[in-house]
């Protein structure tokens, strides 16, 4: 078990543990911070999976920008009220949710198991996207050569989001 395996184990553990923490923490601010930690673990996992670009993306966009939005939202809402109540509702509901989540997990696992093993066999050498600059170049090709139209559509989607937020927030500013 080399260093990579140890790191993988640590960050996989971290991702799962912080995910559980997000679900079980009462205080929203703490939940948000735990969620950031969860995202950082995932970013580390991406790096270990030979996707350093995505690791950076995860840190910059998710842990950086998106979570900042979350924290602002938390700060804008009055969170004291919910803090007092239990995070979960009655035991019946929790049990039902647990059952559903477990069922979902089991079905997904069995579904993946059903997958023909050949489909999951590495086509090229494992880790073919490669490390370093080559990885970025390959992803860039996939992004801008085959996905150019999708890329533009993402731009339009972001524009839509800006306009939508402005419309919702502006009414508030004017009041």
């Amino acid at each position: 078990m080399g260093l990579r395996e140890v790191l993988l184990a640590v960050f996989a553990f971290g991702a799962l543990a912080f995910a559980l923490a997000v679900v079980s923490t009462r205080n929203t601010v703490y939940a948000a911070l735990e969620f950031v930690a969860h995202l950082l673990c995932l970013a580390a996992l991406y790096c270990l999976l030979d996707a350093p670009l995505l690791g950076v993306l995860q840190v910059m966009v998710y842990a950086g920008a998106i979570m900042v939005l979350f924290l602002f939202a938390v700060m804008m809402l009055d969170i004291q009220e919910t803090g007092r109540e239990s995070a979960f509702q009655g035991p019946g509901q929790v049990a039902g949710a647990l059952l559903l989540a477990a069922l979902l997990f089991a079905l997904l696992v069995f579904g993946a198991d059903r997958f023909p093993a050949a489909a999951l066999a590495p086509a090229a050498a494992p880790g073919a996207p490669g490390v370093g600059a080559d990885n970025v170049v390959r992803v860039a090709r996939a992004l801008f050569e085959r996905g150019a139209l999708v890329f533009e559509a993402v731009g339009v989607l972001l524009l839509t989001a800006v306009v939508a937020v402005m419309v919702m927030a502006k009414r508030r500013l004017e009041n």
Binding site: A97, L100, A101, L104, L107, G111, R114, R146
Partner: protein, 639 residues
Amino acid sequence: MNPLLVVLFLPLATAVFNRLFGARLGKGAAAGLACASVLVAFAFAADSVLGLAALPAASRQVLVHVYDLLDLASFRVGFDLLLDPLSGMMILVVTGIGFLIHLYAVGYMHEEDAGEYARFFAYVNFFVFSMLTLVLAANFLVIFTGWELVGVSSYLLIGFYRGKTSAADAGKKAFIVNRVGDFGFLMAIFLIWNAFGSLDFSAVLPHAAALSPGMATAVGLLLFMGAAGKSAQGPLHVWLPDAMEGPTPVSALIHAATMVTAGVFLVARCHAIFELSPLALGVVAWTGALTAFLAATVAMVQVDIKRVWAYSTVSQLGYMVLGVGVGAYTAGLFHLLTHAFFKALLFLAAGSVMHALHGELDMRRMGGLWRKMPLTCATMIVGAACLAGVPLTSGFFSKDEILLMALRGPHADFGLWLLGYLGAACTAFYSGRLIFSVFFGKPRDHHAYEHAHESPWVMGLPLVLLAVGSLAVGLLGLPGFLTHWQPFTDWLAPVFADLKAVPEASASRALVLGLMALYTGTVAVLGWIAWRLYTGEAAAHPADGEATSALHRLLWNKYFFDEAYGFVFVRALLGYSRWLWRWVDQGLVDGTVNGVAAAAQAAGDFLRGRVHNGRTRQYAAYLAAGACLLLGLALIYHR
């Protein structure tokens, strides 16, 4: 970058720009931009076509892959453009004549305010883009996209005067009637996909012979249904005359030079499929001939000058369809080319008259206008001469070729020729009637006459250029016995190289000359009759609603097509629906349903209380449960 992309996307870019910012730029900038973009597109189109001409004849096909529209494992359709002699000719017509019409519109639309002005040019540019997509398509998906875009842009343009109910109705009518044809086109595309597993022209048309005869007939007839809708043929022609509600440059651009030729273009493009089915070709040819004749008879009695030209367009499209229907594709396309010139000219000249008379379109109130507007008069006479088929004009050569093919071509029939000949006679009469009533004789409405004036140069210049073009374009397709210099036929030869029997008419020179003499005589006699009838003091125009005979009433009412549609589709459908409603619905269905409904409502009320209760998390639970259910089902049923 391929010049074709500039040809295609420059008009689109200016259309978007003008729609967004044109109103703020002011009239001059908006119009200048629109005209410039079409002119540049024309230059690039000419460049592409010259490049194409430089290739050896057999390999004159350029495929441009723009983008993968769909790339699934078994189904790949690209946004592909095909430049071959056929589409090359079409893009020159669309951008060239389109530019002249843009130029004319600069003057014609001048009285609109800046916002409307920019909107007009945005729509016209968008139309040019749509039409270019249609003709440059390299597969059936792209051609259908262009087909629909043309439908949308024509809807926008016909209903341009959005304050007028009649304009809005005409736009809707054009759209809906076209949809009927589009349904056929779409069905044909499904059948083609089913038979070939591909929509690319290169994968379908050269291998069309693989179709079974029945399938070829079905595909051909369905394709022609689409073509008939766009090209205003047969019973689907009713939208075109109403489409004159749009501004006159639109009538010239859409309903004369470009959009309506799409059907002819489609049949020519897919000739490999039509050639497999004599039945489909027969339907095409007879539809064309009947349309040519019937529309020409209607045009003889109309008094609104734009409406006369509208019916004349339907009639001339009939000739083109007749041409492609008898297997004379080159002749049909040549008529398309000449018609694009002279009919655009005629509409623009009619617009010029209308402009001078402040919107007056009734020829009974005109007369003697040649003194007031000599340029319009001269150019319109040139156009009308081409339309009527006066010897040595372009229309004479192109129509003559079609009629000869109808009589002696590979799928000839005497009845087709007779209908075509009678239609040509009517054409000569109504062209003369219109010219003589409008420009000659004594003015009938002195007030209007006094205020008439010649149009500004931006409107005059396109008229002159189109008149010159109308005369010159005939040189490209002189009759075979006069000269061996046949640029038009030679140019299109690679497209129709697959035809087994080259449609060289098996006609002796004596027959050809005899027919020409017959047409010349007919035109002369009918022109003279029209002169006698319509230049006199009391011109032979009956007033509105005053029917001189049953025949006149039939023609005045355009064979009651609209009324028949009203009766068959609207009245009958309403009656049938009412019967269904009264007996089947209220009696049978409601009786059963009311009981069920009461039960369902009770259940619904119960469920709404329990299920649709506004609790977000409960909804999430349904979502998760549904996902589980689907996953489970997939696990069970997937092997």
